[in-house]
């Protein structure tokens, strides 16, 4: 069933038990992102210290894809250098626009590869990207401070 390529077990797990879903009081930037076509919203805090992502935390409402994806990106980025983090976001964006032709590099994206199937469902790509774009935005804002 096509559905199974979208809703991998990993995703449903993250959805039921999202990681880092509690805003940390310390952050270098806070962003609020919305998916205007479905109404999903998240607030995401990033704390960048000395060129490294020290913490990522978030709050928000959304579908399983956006919640799981935000959970995945938040956990994945902690400890990475900003450069490394941003290129990881790029790798994920590329995967999302692959129309199902790519599987994603598990060394780079870790649990993120479970979202590969989303790229076959154009309407859901925005859901998967919500958290990643929020993270990117917050990280860039941190740099500009």
């Amino acid at each position: 069933m096509e559905l199974d390529s979208l809703y991998q077990e990993v995703i449903l797990d993250h959805y039921k038990n999202p990681l880092r879903k509690k805003l940390e009081p310390n952050y270098s930037a806070q962003v609020h992102h919305v998916n205007p076509s479905c109404g999903d919203e998240i607030t995401l805090n990033v704390d960048v210290v000395e060129g490294k992502v020290k913490s990522v935390s978030w709050e928000g409402v959304g579908c399983s894809i956006s919640q799981a994806s935000t959970s995945i990106v938040s956990d994945l980025m902690i400890g990475k250098s900003v450069d490394d983090a941003l290129s990881t976001v790029d790798a994920f964006s590329k995967l999302m626009s692959s129309k199902g032709t790519e599987a994603g590099d598990e060394n780079i994206l870790e649990d993120g590869v479970a979202l590969a199937g989303v790229s076959k469902f154009p309407a859901r790509i925005k859901c998967a990207l919500l958290g990643w774009m929020a993270f990117k935005d917050a990280t860039l804002q941190s740099l500009n401070k």
Partner: protein, 417 residues
């Protein structure tokens, strides 16, 4: 009459029902609230125009231009009859969104001494039920003119709260813009008291008939409203065409919205005078094929009979509401009884986000809409991120409802809720 109404036969008029959906399923189209499907009659009418009569209307001295003009003006007459209006009161726009913006901009363009001019202290009234298309244009008009935007609230059942109507529609109110039927909840708005009060204070009533005109008989004279807007694509018609109706007297007094060719009486480098309505409001080469296609659509509806359409949808909604009432973990949002409500059912499911519900339903060929349905303020008022919405039309039947209910069960299984 009833036995004539056979959705299975109607489906045969709509080519899209041959489509094979995900998982090899048949199409269970429950998204007519967003856009309806199109019968052969509409596709053929458009094509006949292009293949045999295509020319710019009101221009050119040749046979094609004559035929195109007759077909286009004939379409106007068909639409006028559909809502019981005069044909020079019917304006073809590209959509209901354009129709509503046209009224708002036209009012905004009027001279300070005109009845349509707004100024600080004047009031525009809407409701919490509005689609963005009947909200943001008025927000913008209020912003441009300094007028105040005020709204009717809704009660827990999604009905308009009219208890405070005298204060909401104050003496300073110039415009009351209201939806006829909520695209989210199906609520049908009681117009009589609103129209009475609006006229008592000298305001005009703008009706968003997007979700009503395709589904039950509309008579602008009986309704007593002043302007009406709806979209062709939700009424079996082509995309790219909408209707704006206004009382002749008002259309004649109003400033135009879009300016350009064919809407003028005379033009110099610095000045232009306007043609009478409807031309004044139809600048440029119009959406001829789409107007003609829409006329074919309303002819198709009229042949079915709008009262039969309404009755069919009422019965189907009753059937569906009964099924929903029996479901666990599923909540209907909006009126739960089948009184003054249309054939739109919004619902939420415990533990599954609407977007995920829609996705599972799609796997079973069931096409619904999910999200805020362009009525975000309503969602916020209801404390929801979104709903899943099933909307019915002439081609739907009990088997479609059964498929919906079954796929909801599948979603619960899939998400283990």
């Amino acid at each position: 009459m009833k036995q004539m109404f056979t959705p299975a036969k109607i489906k045969e008029d709509f080519p899209i029902f041959k489509k094979v959906m995900r998982g090899g399923n048949r199409l269970v189209y429950l998204d007519s609230g967003a856009t309806s499907q199109k019968p052969f009659a509409v596709l053929d009418a458009e094509r006949d125009f292009y293949e045999n009569h295509n020319a710019a209307v009101h221009r050119g001295a040749h046979l094609l231009a004559e035929e195109a003009s007759l077909a286009y003006e004939g379409a106007r007459e068909v639409l006028a009859e559909f809502i019981n209006a005069q044909s020079d009161e019917v304006i073809f726009t590209k959509s209901a969104t354009e129709s509503i913006n046209a009224i708002a901009y036209s009012f905004g363009n009027s001279l300070p001494n005109s009845r349509f001019a707004l100024k600080p202290g004047d009031r525009i009234v809407v409701s919490e039920l509005e689609h963005h298309a009947n909200l943001i244009p008025w927000q913008q008009l209020a912003k441009r003119t300094g007028a105040e935007l005020v709204w009717f609230s809704i009660d827990d059942d999604g009905r308009l709260d009219l208890s405070d109507i005298k204060n909401v529609i104050s003496e300073t109110t110039k415009i009351v813009a209201i939806t006829h039927q909520s695209n989210v909840l199906g609520t049908i708005v009681p117009l009589d008291s609103i129209v009475d009060r609006a006229h008592a204070v000298g305001a005009v009533v703008v009706l968003d008939a997007c979700q009503s005109a395709p589904h039950f008989a509309i008579d602008v004279k009986t309704l007593g409203i002043d302007f009406l807007a709806f979209s062709g694509h939700k009424a079996l018609g082509p995309t790219g065409v909408g209707i704006l109706w206004g009382r002749a007297q008002y259309l004649n007094e109003m400033e135009p919205f879009l300016t350009g060719g064919s809407m003028i009486e005379s033009v110099t480098m610095t000045e232009a005078k306007w043609a009478p309505a409807p031309k004044k409001f139809e600048a440029g080469v119009p959406n001829m094929a789409q107007a003609i296609g829409l006329a074919a659509a309303v002819k198709y509806l009229t042949k079915l009979g709008m009262n039969n359409v309404a009755q069919h949808e009422r019965e189907l909604t009753a059937y569906a509401l009964d099924k929903f009432a029996a479901l666990q973990g599923v909540k209907v949002i909006g009126p739960k009884d089948n009184v003054n409500r249309g054939s739109v059912i919004s619902f939420t499911m415990d533990g599954i986000h609407p977007h995920d519900v829609g996705q599972v339903l799609d796997q079973y060929g069931v096409a619904v809409r999910t999200g805020h349905h362009c009525a975000w303020p309503l969602m916020k008022k209801l404390g929801l991120v979104g709903t899943t919405r099933a909307s019915f039309y002439i081609y739907n039947d009990e088997a479609d409802v059964d498929a919906l209910i079954a796929s909801i069960g599948e979603a619960q299984k899939y998400f283990k809720v």
